[in-house]
């Protein structure tokens, strides 16, 4: 795992939607590189082509629920944490970017 430059850290923070100021970048980048160096040993295990990855510790499959309505939250409960609400909807600042 190569070391991350300060710019690369800034880019990752951007992807993660965290605004890091210069002081934070200066502070975090070296710490990150220390950690990354430590986890780099994962590469030393060698090529594991034959080994299947584990995404779940236990071999469960096919866990389903039936298509039956279950009572959920009231609108009041749903909006109870909203920083801002209007017309029973979550009010959010203007959105950049395109319609989904």
């Amino acid at each position: 795992m190569s070391q991350l430059t300060r710019d690369e850290v800034a880019h990752l923070a951007d992807l993660a939607r965290i605004d890091l100021d210069d002081a934070e970048l200066d502070h975090l980048a070296p710490q990150l590189n220390v950690i990354l160096e430590a986890v780099a040993s994962i590469g030393a295990v060698g090529s594991l082509d034959e080994v299947p990855p584990t995404s779940h510790p236990l071999p469960l499959t096919n866990v389903f629920r039936e298509d039956v309505v279950v009572p959920g939250l009231t609108a009041e409960q749903a909006l109870s944490g909203a920083p801002e609400a209007e017309d029973q909807r979550f009010r959010v600042p203007r959105i950049l970017g395109d319609e989904q």
Partner: protein, 518 residues
């Protein structure tokens, strides 16, 4: 003994089972017990600046109301469970309807969930009054509870030292007699390691054995909810109460809850003949480096004790365990970077609005910068990196494969032994602040506990005594195959009984008396 004279002090030192007995015989009431614990909290918990500071939120009114309801039920002959009326503390990472849930983070300051976690619903249904929410490393990331945005928790054994993490609050609450029981969560050792450094019992169940619905996820494939108690029997009781399949959790195991209480009672008899125990070579500090001598001594003593009780002890090698840390610190950040994306100031939690006419994006960025602490930011960035295109195969993908190898190491080992043992943590409680600027040193606390989470196998930490050099608690870890959690209780209870006899009383009798004790 009468519960009326010097009542509180007596009551708070009882185990949950003892309290349940007193309730059953009518010698005390839930209100009395709950009040005694609330008084204790008021006396010793203090605040972020001083005192144990195990609690982030105490719900005196609610707990007493629940206690009164319990007493009324019991009077009508309708007690719901053995533990009906015995109070409990809940780690602040579990959602509690009507009670604040912060996960130790500023980004959830003031958030009151509109729903209960399944385990919370279970303890409520059984009638256990909830004393409050306990402190933790922010979003369960840490081994010292120093990463809480609300100030650290202090180890009741020595308040200049850490209580372990991420569940330091629950462990300290129980160690300081502020609660007889607590719920914790364990992703890489967050129940077991605090147990080790506070002289309490902590259990990480088999992955999927306890519902995660309502557990704010750190690493979904590693997290488990578990009991934090002063005795193995209490842990067994609580584990039986909270365990079991939950249709709301797709990863929960559809198997009957094990007979943990029976196993614990069995273990107390002290006969372990026929039990095959494997000492994990890679975690026994064979080369000594990084493992505190006092910890190794207590570990060796406890292994000898197992032999005395009839167990057959051998050394087992799990060679891939040397890669467990790297694997863990790739998988966890990856999963959490995605889990924590939901904290964006749009639906709940903190909203920081920069000056001017900021867009939703700008508000998200500013909020996440202000709301997340450094450790959380570090892990989010590493996780984002590990998952990013071009790097996935080498890092996250590779880590998931190494994880398979670690699981295979366990499987191979368990073909020859019934349980595996190691010290729970490499050191005793270190001083507050000592490892804050050294993330790696902090991560190494979890060396022995991480492998179990990666493989999904259950583990327990029981007190093994005090380290010679500093007189601080040392934990003994027992690991069992998936779904064989009863073995933890059998062996744990055996060790506990034998050591308690040797000590002349529970390990916590040796803890310093806290100021404010009445």
């Amino acid at each position: 003994m009468s519960a009326r004279t010097d009542g509180s002090a007596e009551l708070i030192r009882k185990t949950a089972v003892e309290l349940a007995d007193l309730l059953a015989t009518g010698e005390t009431t839930s209100v009395e017990i709950t009040q005694a614990h609330l008084d204790r909290i008021a006396a010793v918990d203090g605040s972020a600046d001083a005192g144990v500071h195990a609690f982030l939120h105490v719900d005196a009114e609610g707990a007493l109301a629940q206690a009164a309801e319990s007493d009324a039920r019991r009077a009508a002959g309708e007690a719901r469970h053995l533990l009906d009326g015995v109070p409990i503390a809940v780690k602040d990472v579990l959602t509690t309807q009507g009670l604040p849930t912060t996960c130790g983070s500023r980004i959830l300051q003031g958030w009151v969930p509109p729903y209960d976690a399944t385990v919370v619903r279970k303890i409520k249904d059984a009638g256990l009054p909830i004393l409050g929410k306990t402190n933790m490393d922010e979003f369960a990331m840490g081994s010292s509870t120093e990463h809480s945005a609300y100030g650290p928790t202090r180890n009741p054994w020595d308040q200049t030292r850490i209580p372990g993490g991420s569940g330091g609050g629950s462990a300290a609450a129980v160690a300081a007699f502020e609660a007889p029981l607590a719920l914790g969560t364990d992703t890489g050792g967050s129940i077991r390691q605090p147990g080790a450094v506070t002289g309490t019992v902590g259990v990480k169940p088999t992955y999927g054995g306890v519902s995660r619905y309502g557990l704010v996820a750190l690493a979904n494939s590693l997290d488990q909810v578990g009991p934090v108690t002063r005795t193995v029997l209490d842990a067994a009781l609580l584990h039986e109460l909270i365990g079991g399949h939950d249709p709301l959790d797709s990863t929960s195991v559809d198997e009957p809850v094990g007979a943990y209480v029976t196993a614990a009672r069995e273990g107390v008899r002290g006969d372990l003949s026929g039990l095959k125990v494997g000492v994990i070579k890679e975690l026994a500090g064979a080369d000594g480096s990084g493992w505190q001598p006092g910890v190794m001594e207590r570990f060796a003593d406890t292994v000898d004790l197992l032999k005395e009780m009839g167990a057959e002890v051998s050394e087992v090698s799990c060679p891939t365990f040397v890669h467990a840390m790297a694997t863990y610190y790739l998988i966890l950040p990856a999963e959490c970077s995605s889990n924590l994306a939901k904290f964006d100031a749009m639906r709940y939690g903190l909203r920081v609005v920069p000056e001017g006419d900021p867009s939703a994006e700008a508000v998200m960025r500013a909020t996440r910068d202000a709301g997340f602490g450094d450790e959380v930011k570090r892990r989010i960035i590493i996780g984002t990196y590990a998952l990013s295109s071009g790097y996935y195969d080498a890092y996250y993908g590779q880590a998931q494969k190494v994880r398979t190898l670690i699981a295979r190491d366990f499987a191979a080992a368990f073909e020859n032994v019934d349980v595996l043992v190691s010290p729970t943590a490499p050191t005793t409680a270190f001083p507050l602040g000592e490892k804050l600027d050294d993330p790696l040193a902090m991560y190494l606390q979890d060396l022995a506990t991480i492998p179990a989470n990666l493989a999904g196998v259950p583990g327990i930490s029981v007190p093994a005594g005090l380290a010679a050099e500093d007189g601080l608690p040392v934990g003994f870890q027992v690991l069992a195959p998936a779904l064989a959690d009863e073995r933890l209780y059998r062996v744990g209870a055996a060790v506990e009984a034998a050591l308690t006899a040797r000590w002349g009383g529970p390990i916590l009798d040796k803890a310093p008396v806290l100021e404010g004790v009445r």
